[in-house]
Amino acid sequence: MTRRALKAWLLSAVVFATLTAPVSAKEDEVSIGVVAPLTGDQAYIGIGVQQGAQLAVEDANVKGPVFGNTRLKLLSMDDQHNPTQAVLAANKLIANPDALGVVGHFNSSCSKAASSIYHEGRMAQVSPASTNPDISKQGFDTFFRVCATDDVQAPAAANFVASKLGLKKIAVLDDQTTYGKGLANEFEKKFKALGGTVLRHDGIKQGEKDFTPLLTKIKSLGPELIFYGGVYPEMALLIKQSRKMGLEVPWMGGDGIYDVSLIRLATPELSEGTYATMLGVDPHSLPEAKDFVARYEARYGEIGSFSAYAYDAANVLIEAIRRAGTRDRETVLNQVRSTKDFPGVLGVINFDAKGDAIGKSISIFKIENGKFKFIEEVKPEVANPPAG
């Protein structure tokens, strides 16, 4: 570009900006963010979260302006399942004066890393799925979640293995993420407290494919069950590789493995008998969620494991913004905190002082004939588990 052309271009850009500036003063638009892994290795879950939030925002706009003449907009951001990216996204959101709250993040590692940024920006953060108990123990009054935590989930699983299945010797694996390791540690703690023996607790690496050396060693120890803290792609590989080497004991995992894709990848025959705990209950089985599930699946296809959570999280935020009736973040935050008996599609939502959802039960499933079969529902032992 010649210097003259550049000058002319700059001039016209300035003129254009001046002319359009008053029009784009968005006095009639506020937004909520949704941050999840939209690309990268966990894009398959993140996209389901984003779609859940998208549907909530569209529903809200059908109902009318959130307050006055103000419409709602969704800002989708990608954290790539990477805490560094999560912090970048959080900084971008708090720098945007239109953004009043955020649905996210998905991964515990990302939610935890970003939580201090939202706290600084006084922005309400409602996570749909980050179950690591430590996140809400940091003392940030901006953090909320609509799912149960791993100190409810993992003990429920341990109890089931020790009491219902009556097993004594197990092995524990995790994928060394904030979520997986947290879940596996809580499981191990409870299982030992119940008098069980943990033969080994090993970590694997997410994205790794070959676990035969580790499984060969575990096989030689002869456990009665193997618990895995992690997500389904590695679980599928672990199941397949263990079965091929003749290690026939059942596997168990948490909400991260509760996905029909597990059965597809590990094949129905090999995954038969695998146990999974899931937060709350399957949205397909809830009458309250029927309408949501039908509309979601008509629009996007098969519902993701956490889409309904994202829908609920977004709706909690949207309702808080409606009640606040202002674009002041602190007021919105107060309204989120005073959420009472919010009718989510996955059940009633109330928050305790730490921002954790109260009374979220855990379900235990077992894979039978290529399907997750509901075994039992575990109510939280106390309304809110003691810290620690």
Binding site: D202, G207, K209, D210, P213, K217, L237, L265, T267
Partner: protein, 304 residues
Amino acid sequence: MAAFELFLQQLINGLTIGMLYALIALGYTMVYGVLQLINFAHGEVFMAGAYLALSAIWITTAAFAGAPVFVVLLSLFVLSIAGCALLGAVIEKVAYKPLRGSPKLTVLITSIGVSFFLQNAVMLIYGSKEQGVPEILPPTQFAFGNVSFSLLQAVIFSVSLALMVLLNWFIKHTLLGKAMRALAENPEAASLMGIPVNAVIRMTFVIGSALAAVAGALFALNYGSINFHDGYLAGLKAFTAAVLGGIGSMPGAMLGGLFLGVFEGLAAGYISSEWKDVFAFILLVVVLIFKPSGLRGENIPEKV
């Protein structure tokens, strides 16, 4: 299981993944030989090979229901080798050839760009979810006492070994192989001797990519689920293997791959699976301290 049997089993586990590392490492080392370029997109070519193999299974089983195993196997190798060879040639032509003569760092960064491009292209085409690969081979196991290996592992061993022997012969005894070696030794002199440098470079990419395709196809069959992200870790490991063996040296790449696979397997089996990558990289550092040019590398100063 007796301790010795356990050890043998871990050795077999390690050799299986080591064979795949070796096949991929060959591509890194060959390209480095002719261009002094670490082609970071090579791991993605391997991943594309896995996806092409999966596509071939879909196509053959859809077109000829109940096609015999042999036909499916043949079609998946043919499609993934042909596809990746073409991909390798296109990458070289579009991304690297225009940069011939520019600083090495420019080309290196371009290769990282190509790698991102391929990853995201595959994600857009095949979706971001893990794709399951149907089992084609019967799940036959050969057992000797408590030590066992599968039919597929036998296929991986024999195919990889055959390819390595073939490649060795090819490099030593064919005209093109000699041209590659000449180019690696002194590009300027080679071009003065009438060696068509560009054509030889293109063929190097084609052969390297074809080897990665075979590794990708075997990988897809062995693990039964693939992801657009798989090229990253496998590529990183294979690159480590190539450096371990002495980058630029073909026997070195093979040796490095097997060595790394076995070492990793033993580290995961006997020490800790959390630390296996740490041990793999400690091995690399230790080898480079005592043999800076790798296990089989020649000592040529002034390379990356």
